[in-house]
Every structure is written in C-alpha cells, then in structure tokens.
Symmetry: C2
Subunit: 651 residues, 2 copies
C-alpha cells in the first residue's frame, strides 16, 4: 500500500492556466515576498522576519518584532523557493536561500532549539505556553522547509537543522519522566513530522507525531497545567485573557480526536491537524484514526463547506460555525484554510481511492486558493467572502474582517506565503501514485515521469483546463509499461467520455475514478472530454443563506456577479429559471478566461425617489430586463472596489 | 404654539388590548421589578439597586454593586409607579414608593449631588468621567422620576430632590469660570431637564439643557480633556481601553449636532438626545435645531428603520450601521431604542403636525416595544431580531447578543423598567394637545378630558384596535366646545372612511391628518373605519437583506412565521404572489389575537438524505404545497425556543 510522492523535478507543469500562476509565483510573488520579509516594501505592514533571525543569530543588535509566529513566514518562503527551484533552476535565488539557511542555522541554539521570538525575547520562557505561542507550529513550518529544500535542491543543510530541531523536540516532549506532556495550540508539527519521516524514515519522527495527536484533549488538560505553572500569564488578549487556554475547541483540544464528531474551532488548525492524522493513519494502518478522518471529513465536507471550497464560517476564532450555517457576507473562509483543505484532501486521497476528496481539492484550488491572490501576484485576500457590499463594510462591525479588495501584505502574513508554496508544489496534488495504479486527480497540464512497480511511466497531460472541455493524455514512455490509469470523473460533470487512440473505451468506474489497465506504450493517447455546460447550482435546502438562490458554475469554477459589469445593488438582480447562457472569452484582464452572460431581471423601486423605510412599501417593485454578466469568482476584485455576489435570487 | 401635556389622571385607558398590558404592568411587572431591584428573584441576575441607595444613605454597610448606571433602574421603576398610580390608586404601592423616595433623599449629598456609585465607591471621582460613567444619565432618569411622581401623586418630595440635583448640576456645568465645560456620554439629562422645565417653568433648566446640547461635539473635545486630566483611566474595557472616549460618534459627540448628517452611534443615545433637542427646539423656537431634528429624523426613518420600528442594526456599540444596511438576524434593535424612538416621535409631533411621526411611533409601539416583553410580563428581550435560527446561535459569534427566548432580568437591566414606564405613560402619546386642535395620534381606547382654548373637551375612543377596523370616537362633554379634531390617517391604510353621526364627512386632509372643525357636543359620534386587509409589504430595493422578500402586515402589526406553527427550516417557505389570506382568531396564548394563514410552498431536498455540500446540487429543490401560518411578531417566542422569520421569499 505504499504511496510514492512524485519527484517534482520529474513533473513539469505545462498548463496554460496554472502554469502562468506558477510563473507568477516564481517571477513576482517569491521576489516580492523576499522584499516583504526584509521590510523593503514601503506600503506594506512591516515584517521584520529576516531581521529577527539576524538578531537571534547574533549578527545584528535589536529587538524581536512581529507576531509570535513570524518565523513561519521565512520557512514558507523557503519552501516556495525549494519547489520553485524544481521547476526552474535559478542560481541567484538558490544562493539567497542558502544564505537564509545559513542564517537559520546560526540562529539555532546548541541544543537544537530554534525560534527567534523566544531566543531573542524570552529564552527562559521556552515551551511554557504551547497553547498560545506557536513554537511547535513554527518548528513544523521549518521542518517542512527543510524537507522541501532537500527534495528541491538535494542540499542537506536545512534538513540537518530541522532534524536537530525535531530531535530536540522529541527529547523535550513525551510521556517519559522529565518530559513535558504537551502538544501545540496550533497543529502543524504533526504533518511536518510525517513529511520528515517520509524523507528520513526515522521512526522516532512518526512516533512523535503520533504522540502529539494522541495526547491532544486528554485530562487533566495540559493547557490548564502549563497556564497554572507559568502564573496564569497570557500572550493573546483580543477576546479576554487566556481565551485560547479556555476555549479549547478553538484548537481542537477540547476532547480526544476519537471523540470529536464535528469539524470545529479554528479552521486552519483543524485541517492542518487532520492532514497529519490522515498521513499517520495510512502509514501506521491505524483503522481507528482512519475512521476519525472519515467521520470528520464527512462532517466538514457535507455540512460546513462553501461552494467556493472555503471553510470557516465566522471571523470570531477564524472558525467553523455549525452544520449548515454558512453566511455569505460575514464568512471568514481564510485562504490558508482552503490551502490546508487541499493538504487534508491529498492525504485522504492517499488513504482512500475516492474522487470526492479530489473534487473538494479541486473546488478549493480553483476558487478560494486562486482567489486569494490578485492577478498581479502582489495583493492577497486573507478572508474570502461570497458576497460583498463595500458601502456597508466600514459601518457595520460584523464586517470588520472583510476587505473589498486584496491587500499588499498583512501584519499576520500567513496567507500570502502559503499561497506561494501551494502553487509551487501543485505537482504533489495532481496524482496519487500507487505501485499498481496512477490516479489522476487534477487535469492540470504537465509532463511527468512516474515510478510504477513495472518501471517508469512517462506521460503528458495537455488541454486548457478549466476553460476547455477536452483533455489529452499522451503516453510518452520509451518502453511499454503495464499499469492502471485511474481517471477522475469530476462530480460536476454529468457525461464524461474517454477515447483511447480515437476509440471509445469503457473501463471500470469505481468511487469516481475510471480504471484503465493496459500495457501502455509510446503513442497511446487518451482523450477525455468533460462537457462544461453552464450549470445552475441550487442552494442546499439545509442552508438558509442559500434559500431560493442559485449559483453559476462551469466546470470547477464558481462564477459571480460584480458591480463593474452589472452596476450596483446586485441583490436586485434575478436569474430566471429558464434563461439560456452565452459563454465568451473575455478581454484584457479576462483574456483567455471564459465569461458568461444571460438575460435576467433587475428589481427597482417603482419611483426614482427611494421609498422611505417608514412607509414600508406595499407596491411590488418593478422588474426590468437586464443582461447579467458573470465572471469566474477567483478573479473578482481585480478592478477596484465594488459589490460582488455568488448566490443570486432565482426569478 | 403652546402644547399641553394631557393630565394622566384625566386620561383613562380603556383599550381592550393595551389596557391589558397596562394591567399587566401594574399587577405583574411593577411588583416583579420591585422584587428584582431588591434582589429577591433567585433565577435573575442580581440587581442591588435598592441596596446601593441604602448604603449611600448610610443605612446599611456594604459596597456598591452593579452597573455604573444601576440607580436608573430605581428611577425608571419609580416613574412607572407614578404613572400607574394615575391609572389606579394603590396606597400600599404609593407607601413603598414614598419610602424609596425617602431613601433617595437620604442618599443625596448636601450639595445636591446624587449618585450611589460615586458616593459609595469614589466620591473624589465625581464628574471626572462624563464620557463613560453615566452620572448625568442617572441624574436625568431621577429628574424624570421626580417630575412623574409629582405629576402622578401631587407630592413634591422627589421633585424637590431633583430640583436640588439639577441646581447642583447647573452650578457645576457651564461656560462660566470654575465651571466644567462637560456634557454626558449618554444623553438623557437634556430631555429630563426639558420635562423639569415644563413642570417648574424654571428657565435655568431649559438653559442648562440647551448648554448640554450646544456644547456637544465642540473642539477641543471635552472627553479628551477629562481623559487626560484623570490620568487616562477608563471605566469600560470591553472593546479596548477608553474606546468610548475614542469613538466619539458612539455618543453622537464626534461633531456638533448642526453638522451631523446621519443617525449614527448608539441608537438609544441618539433618540434620547434628539427627544431633548426637539423639545427644546419647539420651546425656544430655534429654527436651526428644528432643521437638525428634521434632517436626522429623515435619515433615521427613511434609511435606517426596520419594519418592526426597531433601530440600531448592529450589536457592536448597540449602534446604527449605515443607510439601508439592515440585517435581519444579526440586528440589535434594542427595546430601549424603540422606546426612545417613541419619545423622539412624540416631541416631533409636538413640533410638526405631520402623521409620519405618529406612523413610526405606532410601528415601534405595536411591534418592538410590545415584543420586548413576554405575554407573562416577566420575561424581556433586550435585542429584537427579525429572524432567528436558534440552532446556529451558540456556534456563530455574530449571534452572541441574540437570545431565542425572553430572559427574566438582565445584569444591564435598562429595558424591562423602560418598557414598564412607557406602557404606563402611554396616555402621553395618544394625543397632541394644541390650544386650537386635538390631534389623535393613536387609536387606543380611552376616556379623556382635554383642555382646549374654549374649555374642556371630553371624549371617549373605543374599538378593538389593532385587531378590528372600526374606531368609535364619542364626544361626552356636558357643554358644547368649538374645536378642531385632527384624526390621523395611518400610512398603512389605503382607504379610511369617517362618519359623523352616521353621515359621511370629508374634512380637510393635510400631512396625514383629517381635520374636522365643529361645535362638538355630547352625543356627537365619529366612526372611523380603517380597513385592515392583510398586506404584502415588498422589501425595499435599497435594502439587500430584504431583496426578493415580502413581509406580512395587518393594520400596524407586522407578522412572522414561527417554527411552532410551520415546522423548522422556515427559510424554505415561500409565499406565492397571488395567494389569498385567511384571518382568524387564535386560541389560548393567541386568544383575542388575529392570526393569518395562506397557502404557500415549502422547498425540500429532492432526497430524504441531505445532499452533501461538496456536491453542491445541480437539481432544483422540490417544491411542495404548505399552509403557512403567521402570528403577530410582537408575540413570538412565547412558546419556547424555535425559528422565527418576518421576511419570507416570494414564490
């Protein structure tokens, strides 16, 4: 049952659409973020992340500045660089990264400890506040960077640093005498240790991940114990002192995982934790943890998932709400949460050959994740609403977290570097590589060399997904390979067809994949056609915020109305049940993108003067014909501030 | 232009509907609240309000407990008692009240200062924190109580106490040397001083009100000056230190009133302030202040008023949002704000003979104000949502302020005693008494003796408003009186008719009133018929939260759907555009109340299993016929916890 991770040196993304995003990350985002973490972008919030390492390394005088988890921005940047170097060597960038790694190594303490906040500001307070202070979270990101940099460049320097760090953590934490029985407030170390195990095969790392997962939520509660021990001090104050200690569900630490029934608390923490759990469940063949994953995925995906692949319905605690409570305008739907959702989905796919995980992964990728970044690669959303009315935002505090346009950089800058690392490591999500079967999860154009139990299979996927219906899969292996290809049949597609060398084939279809077994040889060609009519998606009757409304989807893309095309007061637009859609290619900003138009209605006041509210009108509003223009939601807010909405009233 | 206030001894409310509320207040609410402010209700939050006075008076040892404005609960209770004694003498209750007044007098300092919080807790800190500490607010409520108790009982004791208090305040505040140039954070003293002026004709009281109003919002800002002076200490911390000092719009102190263009900040503060301003504008014949009132009323009533007569769209700051931003589920719409709205409307009616003010007053009274109290008189809403989904409330923090059922008493108990005093003083709102014209604003059954320039006019209004369409106005004066009666033609009524002694009359109709001038004599009888078909009120196209929705109104009452009658998932119910309504009298809890039924639809999932969200359904939902039952909104949540909604999707 061993799953192989594709080597990103041998997986070249050629996709016209996502390839451009990868180039954007390489050419714009990574250099921009380098400037940002070095505080050279005047309009952006200061970062100080690199300076913190210099100070911790003793190379500079000064004080720590930034969030307690500021180090993780550097780690995520390094990870993005590592994956980017797989796609395209860049000696200068690699040299810069090597220098950052030197700096990190210099900032590491002799015992392996590595965290600039505590090293600079409060060395005596190490490991005294796991609930609030993100030490293990930062360690996890550094471990991920170390693994990625080794995989991307073959260089072991950072891998050694993070192994030393992991060894230190393994020494400090556990159930032994003189060990701390702690675990992180913000999960991340678990998934990172599993990746480190994948690379090093060191069983202590997997055991440590298992310890952190299994210790979680036990009584007496570690967060309370450490809180007492440190004299009830608290780092975060925004919702009252020690709220993170008290609200244990926020960190999914209110009960052991095996007892949890619903996705709850901070959405990013939840998916990060579950990514590690799924990885561990598979490698340790732990059926009980597998059931935890299945159960919690089910709750999240069936009852708490937005059509955009967003999760986390509320701003308070950046958290899930409850089943079917999915407000469109006050939603949080953090970009990082959808990135974590892709990670969780990837690990579920490695455990279960079921396309539902790929369906959700695709939904998250093509909608919220792409939408988290502006088309210029320099502006980012942290929060991804499904409906925005900019005029109301400054006045009603329920919208305090919502921005109508993407921002340059954030004081809490978790999302931008996270988008960069997911887009550069996309290759990890396209396939699930089992010894006997190659699962194709996403139809992203690429050339890949994939290991199989019968030798290497070389293939090329091309097309223009998600705009065009046809996907070409060409086998280019010089020698024939007997193998099974499993093609995902997307949930959004009613009538997929597959041709093999021009002939219709019908393999076995199971849990959303079409299985084709054959001695594949050079020249074999599969043509997958996924018809992409414009679809009306009807609001789920369990979700009151979607009642009576429809959304527009084409392929995996969710569409929306924007003020720039449709004027203000989008809430007055109605989509008739029978109206036909026209698709056409956009221009300028929307070049190479498919836009949609249809004939609808606009409700308007019966008189030019607004009807005063004290006379709540008893005359029906006037309905006028109106052409509605829908754009792919991921590229909203690229034309300045304006209204936007996904769910539209049906006429 | 002198307006007379009806003497409530000569205005006997006989209304079958509101009369019962008055009895409820007299028999249940006032005794219950007396127990509450004496801490004798075990299930309720402690009050300590009476104990604070005993401690301040030196009659008991102990510490102050409660809100900084706890005194006002006693004052509001006394005011309710005073008006109640006008309706029905009650020697025992009067004796209790007299004892409370003795206690209050004993708690007053020699110099006239009266406030138990500062007297007990921080005598040196008197008048050092007007922005946050409600001293002038409490003084205002005590002044109102003094005026009411004098008017209600003829007893001068409390009036003398509050005159001494007002004199002290007049001595402390003003533009003279050695005077503080302050004004309150929470307006109330202004309207109270105007009432005190009405009773005493002491011009200093009106001048002091004028000073407080005109000083407001000037630069350099008094809140900043006192904040600096007291060493930047702050009483309220919930949104960060000194947020009340910083967010000056919260208290309508960000700019002088003459510059304010919109209703903004804390809704109760706004309407309390404007009540005083309108009263002053009329008595001082100040055209500029009249324009301020007209302008700010217009903004509030035309753009920020809920169909329920609620104001204050957001919980944060219990405040207005902005034009046309009226969420139904996260709304605040505090009961006190609608009470203040009635007070503001009353003063506007005294300034302007325009029925729009009475229309809003009626909307507030019959919907939010009545809805603020349970039918048992013992449970109260502070927040009055237009839509509630109880299952979501505990999980999504945007609903933290919303309760699905009325509560016994509140730690911050402003609303319950405010409801008691408005319901007992209803007589002040029925008429505007001008020397030449008697304006009938509300069709509440009553017998009244009204002063006119030609002697006393005695009349009796009967009917069964708001349930029945016919209202009878009988003249019962023993001697004829030449006078004009002005009958309000409600905005909700399309075709009112008036018969005089059985004959159709057509007087002049102006700004919403029908003027009938005549030598009125005993036996004259007016029959006003206000047809009350069930009305569909269409959402205002400017309000996105009402788009595509309709509400049901009959007469002045707004109706709603409740889960108890219609099952759960009210968002799936639809009201067809053409469906006919049946009205019928309810039973039990709804005896003597008109309920409404109609045939509508219920949307349901196409399968019994909920469609998972990750497969956002592309099949339209199934629509089934369903009888919809609407109840008057003011009596929702009297049958336990359940869903409720006013705005319903139109099919």
């Amino acid at each position: 049952m061993s799953i192989m991770e594709p080597d990103l040196h041998k997986l070249n993304i050629t996709d016209p659409f996502l390839g451009q995003y990868q180039r954007l990350v390489r050419d714009v985002v990574i250099p921009y973020q380098w400037e940002a973490i070095n505080d050279r972008i005047p309009e952006a919030d200061p970062s100080h992340a690199i300076a913190n390492f210099r100070i911790a390394a003793g190379r500079e005088e000064g004080d720590f500045y930034g969030m307690v988890f500021q180090d993780s921005d550097v780690a995520k940047w390094l990870e993005a660089v590592a994956w980017s170097l797989c796609q395209k060597p860049d000696p200068e960038l690699e040299k810069t990264a090597d220098e950052v790694i030197d700096l990190i190594a210099a900032a590491q303490c002799d015992d392996g400890y590595l965290n600039t906040y505590f090293t600079v500001k409060a060395p005596e307070a190490r490991w005294t506040n796991l609930a609030e202070c993100h030490e293990l979270y930062c360690a996890g990101h550094m471990i991920e960077a170390g693994v990625a940099y080794f995989q991307g460049t073959g260089k072991r320097r950072l891998l050694e640093v993070v192994c030393k760090l992991a060894d230190h953590i393994d020494h400090v934490f556990g159930r032994g005498e003189n060990q701390l029985r702690g675990y992180p407030g913000h999960p991340e170390i678990e998934l990172a240790l599993m990746r480190l195990y994948d690379v090093t095969q060191e069983p202590r790392y997997m055991a440590l991940a298992q310890y952190f997962i299994e210790e979680r939520g036990r009584q007496p509660h570690f967060y309370d114990i450490e809180y007492e021990k440190r004299g009830k001090t608290s780092y975060w104050h925004n919702y009252g002192p020690a709220w993170m200690v008290k609200d244990k569900a926020y960190s999914q630490a209110h009960q052991p995982l095996s007892e949890q029934q619903t996705a709850t608390g901070h959405a990013v923490r939840f998916v990060y934790l579950m990514t590690g759990v799924a990885h561990l469940a598979r490698l340790s063949q732990d059926e009980s943890k597998r059931q935890d994953c299945l159960r919690l995925w089910r709750n999240m995906a069936q009852r708490q998932l937005y059509i955009t692949g967003g999760i986390g319905a509320q701003s308070s605690g950046e958290a899930f709400s409850s089943d079917y409570d999915l407000p469109n305008d006050t939603v949080y739907a953090e970009s990082c949460a959808s990135i974590g959702l892709m990670m969780f989905a990837r690990r579920m796919l490695e455990m279960e050959a079921d396309s539902q995980y790929a369906d959700v992964m695709e939904r998250a990728l093509y909608n919220t994740v792409l939408g988290g970044m502006a088309l210029d690669g320099k502006h980012f959303f942290y929060v991804n609403p499904l409906e925005v009315h900019p005029k109301s935002l400054p006045f009603n505090h329920i919208y305090d977290h919502v921005k109508p346009v993407r921002q340059r950089w954030f004081g809490c800058a978790c999302c931008p570097p996270n988008i960069a690392r997911i887009l550069t490591s996309l290759g990890h999500y396209l396939y699930t590589v089992r010894p006997d079967t190659l699962f194709i999860n996403l139809y992203v154009g690429n050339s890949a060399t994939i290991p199989t139990s019968n030798g290497e299979l070389q293939l090329r996927i091309s097309g223009n997904y998600p705009w065009q219906e046809q996907i070409q899969i060409d086998i280019v292996s010089p020698t024939p390979v007997s193998h099974t290809l499993a093609l995902r049949l997307p949930d959004w597609c009613g009538s997929p067809t597959v041709l093999l060398n021009g002939e219709k084939v019908s393999g076995e279809s199971k849990r959303g994949y079409l299985y084709l077994t054959r001695r594949w040889q050079e020249g074999d060609s599969l043509t997958l056609t996924l018809p992409m009519p414009v679809r009306r998606v009807y609001g789920n009757p369990y979700v009151r915020q979607q009642a009576g409304k429809v959304a527009i989807q084409r392929g995996p893309l969710v569409y929306c109305l924007e003020e720039a095309d449709n004027g203000a007061a989008l809430h007055n637009l109605q989509l008739p049940a029978q109206s036909a859609f026209r698709t056409f290619e956009g221009k300028g900003l929307f070049a190479h993108k498919i836009l949609i138009q249809t004939e609808g209605y606009q409700n308007a006041a019966s008189s030019a003067q607004p009807q005063p509210l004290w006379q709540y009108d008893s005359a029906p509003v006037v309905r006028q014909p109106k052409t509605l223009t829908f754009i792919p939601w991921f590229c909203w807010a690229n034309r300045g501030e304006g209204e936007m909405r996904i769910w539209v009233d049906e006429a």
